[in-house]
Amino acid sequence: MENMIGSKLSFREKCCLYFFQGCEYIGNATIKRLFNHFGSFEEAYSAGENELRSVLNQNTLEKMLAERSKKDIVLEYDKVRQKNIRHIYIEDDDYPEKLRGIPDAPIALLVAGSLPNPLVPSVAIIGARSCSEYGNYMAREYASALSGAGIQIISGMAAGIDGIAQTSALSAGGRSFAVLGNGPDVCYPRSNESLYRRLLLNGGIISEYCLGSSGLPWHFPVRNRIISGLSDALLVMEAKEKSGTLITVDSALEQGRDIYALPGRTCDKLSSGCNNLIRQGAGILIDPEEFLGEFLHTLSSVGAYSGFLKAKSSLVRTPLTEHKNGSELRISFSSPEEKCVYDILDFNPKSMDQIVSAVNSSIPMPLPIVLQRLTGLCMKGLVENISGTNYRRKV
């Protein structure tokens, strides 16, 4: 009974609430309406058909009655406890304070592992599933810089940016929390299985859906409000012009969270969503350290997380006081050809052929020389090899 401690609901009430959560056709708002109408979940659960009709429409009502006659709610609820998953009602003490205030706050959460520490700031890092090498790299940079400073990383454990950010947060020794669009005991996508297990140990899995629930298409936009709700700022790494990521941005705006976007080349479709956000006034992500300083500064100016900030005071930085000098000025090249090859590369992977033809239009040199200089740059750690035959600069 340990998860009843501090709960405002009786065991029976929680069973009934969990039953309603388990009905795919009854949403968060409807559950709240039922509660308001009947005064308790148990009343709502045991109410007669006629009484229910005033809250539920005919279709929903029929489905619910059919399900009610089939299910043993206590048995169902027992499974939650057996799996060591907490069921937290909105009025419960350990329900995240930040979520309580958001519009359409989830009536109850299922949590495997732990919830974000309310005394430590959290940042959401989100973005496209099929991301580019650039997005991949930047997600890693920001996630490891932020979690290195002790900040918690919230995301959706999806393929692409989400998973990359959370994996690197954990690898940097930080804590990370995933909000899922399916049951907390289901790992989706399967490719993130190892991340899922690591999150259980060094963070948590949060969901408003019942055990075993598979992620239905409309779950994902809805869960996005929890991602933004749990965080103090939202970082968008890569998003196309029409992207699910922008739904999270909308809910973050509604909830009054700060939004930052990573700028990209205007011709890259995967950056068009981000560039648009910047045009609309989102913060611009230039450098992880700079963002970190600015973010902590904003927090301290509103007086939040004072305990955390006191320990991290050295990182707090007023915006735009310091600028990094272009680090490339300090690079010593062993030959003019090497510099020429380096100048041609940027952070987007280029194939050897592209490099060779670009080199030839500046300083013509034999092909073997270009390849030799490329290897030289790789060994100096200035350039890295991507997917076998493509190269790009290392930051």
Binding site: S191, L270, S357, L371, T375, C378
Partner: protein, 503 residues
């Protein structure tokens, strides 16, 4: 009434000499054929009967027994028709028996007595020459092919009467003389040329290295970026086949029935590019008659596998054995044979299912799809590929630019030949022929590094996190690059370039 005629057959890639024995006895008329014969050999009975009748020879009612020895080898093919027919007329006394001694006879008969070509002539005749036969009688269409076997006189016949006539008066026969192979090799030209490929500097350089050191090569690139073009042109820069190699390769083609009378010998390196829907047995060969497959038909030549990940898994895995042992071992009900399959593999693939990764503006493939697509080429296959390059879609300036004189096949072949002769010198009295063949144990001996380049190689090994196997691949490719540059030692620059072609 007994006679013997000598003939031969193929068993996989090997040949055997066969003795066709015919006995005519005064007993109940019958026709028996023994000697582990397959269906088409037994059918010779009907063809021979009618062909003899149409040649005006009446077979009297006798008990005819035919044995083809050695009786423990399964005989197949239609080449026994002519020896059986000649044997019968000899046993009947139309031809003196001793004439047939030392003569090999092969050919299929038509009902009208015409002699039709058969498969596998060249290796059978070569084997016959080795067994001491002095003369052979073969179908006219196969005569040119047979003439390339040395040490044996070849007579081509077009019908049964001609065969009978020729054999009774050998002094009158005209022997087929072969065309000069060495001259044919020297004068061959190709429709394709590397100067047709504009841009693609890296791919061309990689092709040069692959041809020089016989390194297997993998080209990754979007659709339409010229992967096939490069592969097709690779044989134009490879060293020409030697005369012995021509005979070897032609033998395989002969067994597969792919030599025609217009083109009786293979003088160019073979090029095979099976479609990705190819079946396992079409690649490896096999079947009841143990015929050679595509992997053997490109022996000493190029095997180009376009869209490698689209090939079935079993087909891709079937490459492991020939890539490792340069031959294919096949075991079927009818026996087990090993075919030579020493080819240069050029594999091509898109970088992802749609072909445009890492250009994320065009590629929508998920990470998972890309990984799954690439994982279809298993590690053991990747391990055996020394050179990996990507081809890029050319922009318009690459298409319209003037062609580079150093990019012609002739120029590149010159470089390859130089590197080849250096390798010949190096591998004298060793089992190796090319740098790619060097086994790990001998790498230190054949790819020596001086102190400076050793230090560099160690640094590469550490910083690139190489495995021992990929380190060896690196050294082999660097050895070939050094040979191309006519440098005795592997220099730092050779290593640095080789790094760019690694996995």
């Amino acid at each position: 009434m007994y006679s013997t005629v000598y003939s031969g057959g193929i068993n996989g890639i090997g040949c055997y000499m066969a003795k066709v024995e015919i006995d005519l006895s005064r007993a109940l008329p019958a026709w028996d054929m023994v000697g582990k014969l397959s269906h088409e050999v037994i059918e010779a009975k009907e063809r021979v009967k009618v062909a003899l009748k149409n040649a005006g020879i009446v077979i009297p009612p006798l008990h005819i027994t035919i044995n083809i020895s050695p009786a423990n080898i399964r005989k197949s093919g239609t080449g026994y028709d002519l020896p059986i027919a000649l044997g019968i007329v000899t046993a009947l006394g139309f031809i003196p028996e001793d004439i047939l001694e030392g003569i090999l006879v092969i050919g299929e008969l038509g009902l009208d007595g015409s002699v039709a070509p058969v498969k596998g002539i060249l290796p059978i005749v070569s084997a016959a020459a080795a067994h001491g036969f002095k003369t052979c009688i073969v179908p006219n269409e196969n005569a040119a092919e047979a003439s390339y076997a040395s040490g044996i006189n070849v007579i081509g016949v077009s019908c049964f009467e001609e065969a009978m006539h020729t054999i009774t008066d050998l002094s009158d026969a005209s022997y087929v003389t072969p065309r000069n192979i060495a001259q044919m090799i020297a004068t061959q030209d190709f429709e394709e040329d590397f100067s047709d490929v504009s841009g693609q500097a890296v791919c061309k350089r990689a092709a040069l290295i692959a041809a020089a050191g016989f390194h297997h090569m993998f080209i990754s690139g979007p659709p339409g970026s010229g992967k096939t073009m490069i592969a097709k042109r690779l044989r134009t820069i490879m060293p020409p086949l030697t005369v012995d190699e021509c005979i070897e390769v032609s033998g395989i083609y002969s067994i597969a029935g792919k030599l025609t009378c217009d083109d009786p010998i293979i003088t160019r390196r073979p090029y095979q590019s099976p479609h990705h829907a190819a079946t396992l047995s079409s690649l490896t060969g096999g079947g009841y008659d143990l015929h050679p497959g595509i992997l053997s038909l490109c022996h000493r030549g190029i095997l180009f596998l376009d869209e490698l990940p689209e090939f079935s898994r079993e087909c891709i895995e079937a490459l492991r054995e020939p890539l490792e042992n340069k031959q294919i071992q096949m075991s079927r009900v009818s026996g087990s044979v090993s075919y030579p399959a020493d080819f240069l593999l050029v594999a091509a693939a898109n970088p992802c299912p749609c072909g445009f990764y890492p250009d994320r503006n065009r590629c929508n493939c998920t990470e998972h799809e890309i990984r799954r697509y690439n994982s279809r080429i298993s590690g053991p296959i990747r391990d055996r590929i020394d050179i990996i390059v990507s081809s890029e879609k050319m922009d318009i300036s690459g298409l319209t630019g003037s062609s580079d004189p150093n990019g012609s096949s002739e120029h590149m072949r010159g470089l390859v030949l130089k590197a080849r002769s250096i390798q010949e010198e190096r591998f004298k009295n060793t089992p190796y022929r090319y740098n790619s063949h060097i086994r790990a144990a001998d790498i230190g001996h054949f790819c020596p590094l001086d102190e400076e380049s050793m230090h560099y190689a160690e640094e590469v090994y550490r910083s690139m996190n190489l495995s021992a196997r990929s380190y060896h691949k690196l050294l082999r490719v660097a050895r070939t690059i050094a040979d191309l540059e006519e440098s005795e030692h592997i220099r730092i620059s050779d290593l640095a370039e080789a790094v760019c072609y690694r996995t």
